[in-house]
Subunit: 246 residues, 2 copies
Amino acid sequence: MTRSISPNDLMIRRLQSIHPLSNEEVRALGELPLEVASLESGHDIVRMGDRPKQCCVVIEGCTCIYKLTSEGGRQIMAIHVPGDIPDIQSLHLGLMDFGLAAISACTVGYIPHEKIQQMCEAHPRLGVALWRETLIDAAIYRDWMLNIGQREAFGRVAHLVCELMVRLKAVGLTEGDSFKFPVTQANLADAFGISSVHMSRVYGALAASGLLKVTRSRIQVLDWDELLEAGDFDPTYLHLEKSAPA
Amino acid sequence: MTRSISPNDLMIRRLQSIHPLSNEEVRALGELPLEVASLESGHDIVRMGDRPKQCCVVIEGCTCIYKLTSEGGRQIMAIHVPGDIPDIQSLHLGLMDFGLAAISACTVGYIPHEKIQQMCEAHPRLGVALWRETLIDAAIYRDWMLNIGQREAFGRVAHLVCELMVRLKAVGLTEGDSFKFPVTQANLADAFGISSVHMSRVYGALAASGLLKVTRSRIQVLDWDELLEAGDFDPTYLHLEKSAPA
DNA sequence: CGGACATTTGAACACTCTCAAGATTTGTGG
DNA sequence: CCACAAATCTTGAGAGTGTTCAAATGTCCG
């Protein structure tokens, strides 16, 4: 079912989903050299304080951006799926103000900053596409802040499931009404700003309401309309070229 | 004390604080045409769903970015001070996914997108500076998410006061250990994801602890070291060229 | 089949909320 | 310059959502 995809393809799909690209631009993206690596869950890809000289592309699995408080709390502020470039901001913000880690077993690719810079000079519209990508990252942060600050835990979870469904569909990684999602509840709890105990209870409530069916490696949406309602979800902030869900 | 500042000057100061600029670049920024307007608190500058053809620069007072839930909750996800360009993202993200409003009486300036585009073509390094500015906006979102998701209300407020002190100092708008801040507690509550009743209690607690002295239009820091501690504050995420506080 | 890790469940507690009333401050008109 | 209206802030009390601690159950991998 999952035919072998060239490592660059998912990144191209992702960029195409937010910005029209010419054949030549697609070719330029396809020619970016990608050093592929397999990581186990929990692996720190880039640490706060680092000054990376390359960008990371997610090829398989999920990564996250996180920060810690001095009290030991961890907030996950972004979850990445295949095609995403989690640390694209390092191109112009040398010093990392957050950590980037794998939250599932995953495959990533590394591209030297230098190669990206050269590509942007040769194809200025790709530079704009990347800028736009960073702006959409920010739009997602805004939506997460609304989610965390104003909704109860039940709604927060519903909202994220809607978001993931739409983002994964845009790169062709949904399978009907479900998608692969091997992220632990403890990690999700850190993304919602709740305890892992409560996370378990909320998942239970979502299942009891007949909205979702969840296993350790997959989420299945049983009632998309009710889920949209529960998550108060509007995909505008994802700024996709065309965004029709499930 | 506050000698008359040209409307463009604060924006230039802000950009200089995050990116070195040549004299020629400063001149180009100074020549941007700015249509100045006075707004009263509560005025909506740009609405969600709009497609603005200009950017807004804050000259005096405070503006905020916000989103609403269908339940009527409002989350403020950014507060802007003079020199900031709140909707700079509209340059490459045509559709507004958030609202921009004045949260104090304020003076703003409008610059047509077209003029900014022309400036970026003539001075590519200014384009990079603006990209960098949007990346720092995102870095601030990340920090707010950590604040809202992982800290108790007391720490959230302490953290924001630290941030404002540093940002205002960078554009020369602090007065010793205090700064002008005519924002209501109800607005702040929406920024912290708490009720206005609790906001009042937290301000009380901060004052009782001897960290702050607050009036309706001004915040005075009484104990900077304790405030840093209480807010668990590290200014790295602001990405200022040199960031020495109070 | 054992062991590490992840999830579930119960119970007491805490931070924050809502509702409601009272106290202050600010702005405006006389 | 005073008086009143509107907005903002403060304070009290009861209710909730989510927390912590602790132990039991379940799942995956070597």
